[in-house]
């Protein structure tokens, strides 16, 4: 790999994520990104459902019948789980923008709070869907 195109030096570089032990804040950060990409990809499907549900009464009933399908329930849970996680992690970003929880220790606690709160919400969401 031609690493030297970007950095023209002989310094040793370790950017192999598999050998780096990441702090909890790094995990919540990368999951925020991954959930964002999942949501971007999901926009088309969600718009399609909105279109179908609004176009006519039979379309609305069809969408309701899709939601009875276990596979659709699972996908819906996945997409809405990504949405809830992205929302909770995003609110933490806004809180940090306000100057709260930016320190090393408070940042870690904030990340842990994001994991706990979003996990609870995602479980509740699953209960609601099933």
């Amino acid at each position: 790999m031609s690493v030297n195109i970007a950095v023209n030096s002989k310094r040793p570089v370790n950017l192999d994520l598999r050998t780096i032990k990441l702090p909890v804040t790094a995990y919540t950060s990368i999951v925020h990104r991954i959930s964002g990409v999942i949501l971007f990809v999901s926009i088309a499907g969600l718009l399609w459902l909105l279109d179908k549900s609004l176009i006519s009464e039979s379309g609305f009933e069809q969408v309701q019948s899709y939601f009875q399908n276990p596979l659709v329930k699972l996908i819906l849970w996945g997409v809405l789980a990504a949405l809830l996680y992205h929302l909770v992690a995003g609110i933490r970003h806004l809180v940090m923008d306000a100057g709260v929880g930016e320190g090393l220790e408070s940042g870690k606690r904030g990340s842990q709070a994001v994991i706990v709160i979003s996990a609870v919400l995602i479980v509740l969401l699953g209960v609601w869907i099933w």
Partner: protein
């Protein structure tokens, strides 16, 4: 100040701000819609289409669609400039990154127009 020809406003600070303002709008809309569905368990087609028939709901939804377009562009742009780099892809990085951004931008534009069609119906 760092500027780039491909980011939304050619200023990182404006992009940063746009990302946050759009985020707040998206959060409010998400909570509203989730709340509406949760509080109306036996929702009928009349309820649902009645909600989207209201002018304020159409304006609120269109505003959210604009926020969604801005938010996804800044997000996908950030991801493309972070990972599609010369270190990862070598000399093809600029072309690959540009193509990725074109696909994201075009997709979002199509989704936006489609969303307008759904909301205002033709």
């Amino acid at each position: 100040m760092v500027t780039s020809v491909t980011n939304l406003s050619r200023s990182g600070l404006y992009d940063w701000m746009a990302q946050r303002v759009s985020a707040v709008l998206l959060a409010v809309y998400t909570l509203f819609l989730l709340g509406y569905v949760l509080l109306n368990p036996g929702m009928t087609y009349a309820d649902w289409s009645g909600l989207f028939d209201q002018s304020w709901m159409r304006i609120f939804s269109l505003l959210t669609l604009v926020a969604l377009s801005v938010h996804s562009w800044v997000g996908m742009w950030t991801i493309s400039t972070d990972y599609l780099t010369p270190m990862a892809l070598g000399k093809f990085a600029t072309v690959a990154r540009f193509l990725f951004q074109v696909v994201c931008g075009l997709a979002m534009f199509v989704l936006f127009v489609w969303g307008v069609q759904i909301l205002w119906g033709i």
